[in-house]
Symmetry: C2
Subunit: 116 residues, 2 copies
DNA sequence: TTGACGCATACCCATATAGGTATATGATGA
DNA sequence: TCATCATATACCTATATGGGTATGCGTCAA
């Protein structure tokens, strides 16, 4: 009787990056590996919070981690973002080629609505 | 003291497209406007469900709607997806240029982990 | 005006978070 | 072995959903 409330963030890259903090983490990792504590500090959030977000990112494969002495360094593995980039890219024609037409179309919709 | 559980889907495009059904809707709308009932049918879900997803998409601006007689036609306005496309594009170098290096790096991480 | 049709909402539920705090785990160094 | 540092987890709370069902509302046709 599983009454799904929402797809688990851990199951999908789209969900993983839906959280602003996690997107911030990915951006921070673009410049290189970082230990959890440093990420937590840069995010301005408690360490446990950062660890939890990192866990989600790890489970969807957007980050990789390795131990380094007492620390655990997290590194970016952005390959999973490619899927999102390509999916959104599938709509590119709707914001480029057909922009004028689309804008006109949207204006029409707005007018039609105001006319109610 | 608002204890945010999660950013509202209605406030952000990233959240809006985190839901599979909503992504399906956007894909369906690529071929043109559609009345709610038809979308619900194609999604294989009750009409109220489709309406709710459409509402979220409307609130983040990914779809526009207009009345047409007794029906309400929903149309795609993919411009908001551009932001997502560009954000993910900011990581492109990590899955193209540096692929070999990255893959090697990931392998190292895995080995390091197995070596524990 | 009335009845049917197409949607949007109101509710009710169970679940999945995001956060914060306290605590268990692991690893390092004296 | 013991104290300490760096993380990961366990809990607990308030919310935000997604889904299903019943129902309100506006529009159109007879």
């Amino acid at each position: 009787m599983t009454v799904m409330a929402r797809a688990a963030t851990t199951s999908d890259v789209f969900n993983a990056i839906a959280e602003p903090r996690r997107r911030e983490i990915l951006v921070l990792l673009r410049t290189g590996e970082r230990p959890v504590a440093q990420l937590a500090q840069q995010l301005g959030m408690p360490q446990p919070g950062a660890s939890k977000h990192l866990r989600v990112l790890r489970e969807v494969g957007l980050v990789q981690d390795r131990k380094s002495g007492k620390q655990r360094l997290y590194g970016l593995d952005a390959r999973g973002l490619r899927r999102v980039h390509e999916w959104t890219g599938g709509f590119e024609q709707f914001w480029n080629e057909g922009f004028d037409r689309l804008d006109e179309y949207v204006q029409d919709l707005k007018q039609a609505r105001q006319a109610d």
